[in-house]
């Protein structure tokens, strides 16, 4: 499962994307796995996940076919 990383998420992981094997079947599980591997994510004021370029809910299912991105707090403008 490939996961795109942006902003501070890129710094936390030390890469532009994650290409590891995740067991997660939905967004909530993905966040849990991510925090387990990179505890620094707990320091962010929020952590969203986009599935196929849309904000996803915790129960949104995910698979290797989706485009998945970690969305740390946005700060445009």
């Amino acid at each position: 499962m490939k996961i795109l990383l942006f902003g501070i998420a890129k710094d936390i992981v030390g890469n532009q994307s994650l290409d590891e094997a995740f067991q997660a079947k939905n967004v909530a599980e993905l966040k849990q796995e991510l925090i387990q591997k990179y505890p620094e994510f707990t320091k962010l004021s929020s952590l969203a996940v986009a599935v196929d370029e849309e904000y996803a809910n915790d129960d949104t299912p995910i698979s290797a076919q989706n485009e998945i991105a970690i969305i740390p707090p946005v700060s445009g403008g």
Binding site: L4, F6, G7, I8, D11, L44, S45, A50, E53, E54, A69, I71, P72, P73, V74, S75, G76, G77
Partner: protein, 139 residues
């Protein structure tokens, strides 16, 4: 409603009138966000903007659609810059035209507020000295 929605290298505020004027519009309201030289009492040298471009454009389209549903607008613009930006450079430009001024003022405020809240774009601040920090909004 005509709209122009872009993630671009450089924003050119000199063309906003051409981009927004319309024969049925009596009012045009524009907001431009720029790099300011200070943040929380620290001297800022420059900002760097990164976008999740495909998703950012989708979110901006949704915001534009919501604005055109809520207000009676003729034209609308949303532009966000990416890359390195120096002090006084424009980084975001939003605006709308409408028959009466209430609509374009309210829409313009909604466009910038919602863009800042929803659109996946991230800003890194470069301070005097060597500090650099990804900005994360304070609760």
């Amino acid at each position: 409603m005509e709209k122009k929605i872009e993630i671009i290298e450089h924003i050119d505020p000199s063309v906003i009138y051409k981009d927004l004027s319309h024969p049925a519009s009596g009012g045009i309201c524009v907001f431009i966000g720029a790099v300011r030289d200070t943040t929380q009492n620290q001297k800022v040298n420059s900002l760097f903007f990164e976008a999740y471009e495909a998703m950012a454009l989708k979110e901006m389209e949704k915001i534009a659609a919501a604005a055109s549903k809520q207000w009676n607008l003729h034209r609308l613009i949303m532009q966000h810059a990416v890359g390195d930006k120096k002090v006084e450079e424009p980084v975001v430009l939003v605006g709308a035209s409408s028959a009466h001024r209430d609509d374009c003022f309210e829409a313009c405020r909604f466009l910038i507020d919602t863009l800042k809240e929803k659109v996946p774009i991230w800003k890194k601040e470069f301070f005097d000295g060597t500090d650099e920090v990804w900005v994360t909004p304070h609760p």
